[in-house]
């Protein structure tokens, strides 16, 4: 046993393991020395963790679009970050109208529901149009073709929205009902953060339940398993693919609303970074895997929020917050070294239809 293992071991493997272990060692050293310095109180770590959880919830919902489309078409939908942007960017005008008329303050729940519906609706529409116009004609083309098309579609959507609403930033009106906070044992928890975490978890449960226990969910899993056989079984593959894009779009639009509860500024390039992070989260958890994407996103959100101060302060790195993206991607590299299929493993169709 040991011998076969030794035979299979290559120089590359050793090299990669050394890199991985070095990075992990640096992180552990940094953590220990940060905690020894005791610069940050437990209250700060808790506060950062809550913010990280909220951020992770948003990433999780965006990641749904990537992971479900990848599961079915084996294609990375790079335009998904623009699908995410389209919802909240369009809805900012609805929200400003609601705030001006005072409706948002009088009926915050109904107001938020309207914002959520409009945002999810716009994103769904964009996602379905994208599938119809950009991807369906290329369904049987070589794998690289839809990938390049996705990048092109991403730029197209980006500049369409820039043309529609301009290149400036718009602020969402304050939702006063969500600005209050509760204090538990000295820790301030803002209602907006709670709303984001709860909202993300509820939507994840709905999505997971739909994929696992409904008829259409079963059909989706069947298509993702084997398209040809699914078609023979009487499943309308085109319809299922459109539905998948639609669900991905809707959850991206909903993620957009949660995102603006945390960062209430929208502009035409707002989708880029959350999109990349969500894609990272999907890979981290195991692409094609719905609970995996959720887990990956939460880990990523926490790492980004807590990581810079925890790993780097103790090492004496100046302005660690600038390196939060680096931390997120290094963790991705680590996971891919030690577990190439992601934390919960890939679930993708065998072979492309």
């Amino acid at each position: 046993m040991l011998r076969t293992w030794r035979q299979r071991l290559t120089i590359t493997d050793i090299f990669i393991w050394v890199i991985g272990l070095t990075i992990a060692g640096v992180a552990i050293l940094g953590t220990i020395s940060t905690l020894q310095q005791g610069q940050y109180s437990a209250r700060v770590w808790l506060d950062l963790s809550i913010k990280g959880l909220a951020l992770g919830g948003v990433y999780a919902l965006i990641a749904m679009g990537y992971t479900m489309v990848y599961g079915i078409l084996k294609m990375i939908n790079f335009a998904h970050s623009e699908v995410f942007m389209s919802g909240p960017f369009t809805t900012v005008f609805v929200a400003q109208g609601l705030a001006k008329s005072g409706f948002l303050d009088r009926q915050p729940v109904i107001g938020l529901a309207i914002i959520l519906l409009v945002s999810a609706g716009v994103s769904t529409l964009i996602a379905i149009l994208l599938e119809r116009i950009a991807y369906r004609p290329l369904r049987n083309a070589p794998r690289l073709v839809p990938l390049i098309t996705a990048i092109g579609a991403s730029f197209f959507l980006l500049y369409v929205f820039r043309g529609l609403y301009g290149s400036g930033s718009f602020g969402y009106p304050a939702i006063h009902a969500l600005q209050q906070s509760w204090t538990f044992a000295g820790i301030q928890i803002y209602k907006a953060q709670v709303a984001v975490i709860v909202g993300a978890v509820v939507m994840m449960l709905i999505l997971f339940g739909m994929v696992q226990w409904t008829k259409i969910g079963k059909a989706m899993r069947a298509v993702s398993e084997d398209k040809e056989v699914a078609e023979l079984m009487g499943i309308n593959v085109d319809r299922i693919i459109v539905f998948t894009f639609g669900v991905g779009g809707a959850s991206a639009g909903a993620a957009g609303v949660l995102y603006i509860l945390l960062f209430p500024v929208v502009n035409f390039y707002m989708g880029f970074f959350p999109g990349i992070k969500a894609f990272t989260a999907a890979v981290l958890g195991g692409i094609g895997n719905v609970p995996g994407a959720f887990l990956g996103a939460i880990i990523l959100g926490l790492l980004e929020s807590v990581g810079p101060n925890l790993f780097l302060t103790g090492l004496g790195v100046p302005s660690p917050s600038q390196l939060k993206d680096a931390i997120a991607f290094i963790v991705l590299v680590l996971i891919l070294i030690f577990r190439p299929t992601g934390i919960l493993g890939e679930r993708i169709s065998r072979g492309k239809a």
């Binding site: 700060v44 930033s169 602020g171 906070s181 960062f263 980004e304 101060n309 600038q322």
Partner: protein
């Protein structure tokens, strides 16, 4: 047949050359300028270009400057020395790579005499080597980084001038305001890695320390960052009374929104600089903008009031940013210098020697501008600034002047 035709054409061509040589000789101008001259034909326009941020999140900054120049051109009747003024340009995006791209395009156009720009100091750092090598005069209305006019610094280039204040002044005034007027003793600073923000926070920190204050932390964020929680958490450990972040949008708006929800920073005062004097700060930061302060140049006077009336008539709104008057003055300084050095021929042809133009701009003295009585020096500083401190209130633009108190109307 073909042979014969080509013979006839050649014969005509040779004849033409002989005739031209024998014709009456015009008094030709020989250019002796070390970096060359621009020849402008009798009906050609004088080409002034801009390199400003006129797209993206900081559009207001560059568009406002461009508006100022357009009013200045209109005030001059659209002409310099009887030639029409051609005014066009490139967007520099308020970034180094944007400045590089726009600078490359402009430097390739030999008809350009002067460039109004850049908007941001980072743009200048990338574009200035190109524009300077092309022989242009550059006149910035809003670059404030000290490097650009420091002759010992590699970011200083010949032909660069600015009507905007030097941040050596703005940073010192901001420190004075924070220490003496607000009574702040502990402050932290944040920059975004841009030339402007990095230098300005440094000047602020030096002056604040000299006055007797303590800087608890000098840190930075990245451009494009939305989640500021970790940087704010590190700032909170020093429990400063003021956070000074002379950066831009949208990062500035995210800091304004997230600072007050960070444990330990509930009562901290927030202050930025002229990069965050924009209606978009109020639009994007929402309710959190209440009490946010910025330092910014203070322009007052009857001439300025008349300018604002013209601005409103032409563009339908009050000035959207702060450097319109600086751009107006910048254009007029260039115009005066061109009128001084241009050599006019009898047929209306104009020669503008480039080095002489630079010297003439540098020699500007007692120039009656909207922003004060201006004088330029060879290093490039033309400004005579008064800096004020302003405070934002929710839904109100422009922010209210709160200091120096003697200027409050």
């Amino acid at each position: 047949m073909f042979k014969r035709l080509s013979f006839v054409i050649s014969a005509i061509a040779v004849l033409g050359m002989v005739l031209t040589a024998c014709g009456p000789k015009a008094e030709a101008y020989t250019c002796t300028d070390p970096i060359g001259c621009v020849k402008i034909g009798p009906t050609d326009p004088i080409h002034i270009a801009y390199l400003l941020v006129v797209a993206g999140p900081n559009t207001a900054l560059g568009t406002d400057s461009r508006n100022g120049v357009e009013i200045a051109i209109a005030d001059g009747g659209g002409k310099i020395l009887g030639h029409d003024v051609k005014f066009d340009g490139e967007d520099g995006g308020c970034s180094a790579d944007g400045g590089q791209a726009a600078g490359t395009k402009l430097a390739a156009d030999p008809t350009i005499i002067a460039v109004i720009g850049t908007s941001c100091s980072s743009e200048a750092r990338a574009a200035e080597p190109l524009l300077s090598a092309a022989g242009f005069v550059t006149m910035s209305s809003s670059n404030t980084a000290p490097d650009l006019t420091d002759p010992t610094n590699p970011n200083h280039y010949a032909g660069y001038f600015r009507t905007a204040h030097n941040d050596k002044i703005q940073g010192a005034v901001a420190a004075d305001f924070a220490y003496n007027f607000l009574g702040i003793r502990k402050a932290a600073t944040i920059h975004d890695g841009s030339l402007y923000a990095d230098k300005l926070q440094g000047v602020f920190a030096d002056n604040f320390t000299q006055l007797g204050g303590t800087i608890t932390l000098q840190t930075s964020v990245t451009i494009g960052q939305t989640d500021m929680s970790s940087v704010l958490a590190s700032i909170a450990t020093g429990s400063p009374e003021l956070i000074y972040f002379p950066i831009f949008l949208p990062e500035g708006a995210f800091l304004i929104q997230q600072a007050k929800t960070t444990p330990g920073l509930e009562n901290v005062k927030l202050m930025g600089a002229d990069g965050l004097y924009s209606p978009d700060v109020m639009n994007t930061a929402g309710a959190a903008v209440e009490g946010f302060m910025v330092s910014s140049p203070l322009v007052q006077g009857a001439a300025y009031d008349a300018f604002v009336v013209k601005y409103q008539a032409k563009f339908g709104s009050l000035p959207i940013n702060i450097f319109h008057a600086h751009a107006y003055d910048g254009y007029n300084i260039i115009k005066a210098a061109i009128e001084k050095v241009a050599v006019q021929q009898a047929d209306g042809t104009l020669y503008i020697p480039r080095q002489a133009l630079r010297d003439a701009v540098a020699a500007t003295k007692d120039f009656q501008g909207l922003t004060g009585v201006l004088a330029c020096n060879v290093d490039g500083d033309c400004a005579n600034p008064t800096i004020g401190a302003y405070e934002y209130h929710e839904g109100v633009y422009p922010p209210t002047l709160i200091w120096p108190t003697e200027y409050i109307k």
